[in-house]
């Protein structure tokens, strides 16, 4: 697997899953918090990626 986006999604999924299960005890709260974290990871990565786009690094 060499797709950066897929690897980002996979990484975000695992980290969100573990954080959600660690911090919340109720299944509904886990799903809500995990979903929020996962969305946050993806949105932040895409936004930061576009913000960095003009810079010739």
């Amino acid at each position: 697997m060499r797709s950066h986006l897929l690897l980002l999604v996979l990484f975000s999924f695992f980290v969100s899953l573990v954080f959600a299960v660690l911090t919340k005890d109720d299944v509904r709260e886990q799903a809500r918090f995990g979903g929020l974290l996962f969305t946050g990871f993806i949105v932040a990565a895409v936004v930061l990626g576009w913000l960095m786009y003009p810079f010739p690094l």
């Binding site: 697997m1 950066h4 690897l7 990484f11 695992f14 980290v15 299960v21 660690l22």
Partner: protein
């Protein structure tokens, strides 16, 4: 003040629990009866570690000459027995030319760090803080 025999036994049990939780991801939660959480950690963290190895990530070894490598090694070691087994079997040499090398390192390092958080969580549950 001296600790009583019961306190010492409890402390010994806590140390054993932490070692088990470190060695096998989720073992601490399983020990404490948190079966659903334990099984989830038992699956998710090793899978994350194996994905890291499959992506060509490197298992760092502690080197005092290179502080950042040493820190990465400490994080890698957080995954417990898997680190030892994978190293012994010759996995985790890392292919720096691979496109996914850094991704592999991120998966390996974060899997180890997450397992350390899981150990701390198991300790807190054992101490009645959660």
């Amino acid at each position: 003040m001296r600790a009583t025999a019961a306190e010492q036994t409890q402390t010994g049990g806590l140390v054993l629990l932490c070692i088990a939780a470190w060695a096998v991801p989720g073992a601490g939660h399983l020990w404490l009866g948190r079966h659903s959480k334990g099984v989830l950690f038992l699956i998710a963290l090793p899978v994350m570690f194996l994905v890291g190895l499959a992506l060509g990530g490197r298992l760092f070894h502690i080197e005092f000459a290179e502080p950042l490598v040493g820190l990465a090694a400490v994080a890698d070691l957080g995954i417990g027995a898997l680190y030892v087994v994978a190293s012994a079997l010759g996995y985790g040499a890392g292919d720096v030319r691979a496109v996914t090398y850094e991704y592999g390192n991120a998966f390996l390092i974060v899997a180890g760090l997450l397992n350390l958080l899981v150990v701390i969580d198991a300790r807190d549950i054992a101490l009645g803080r959660k």
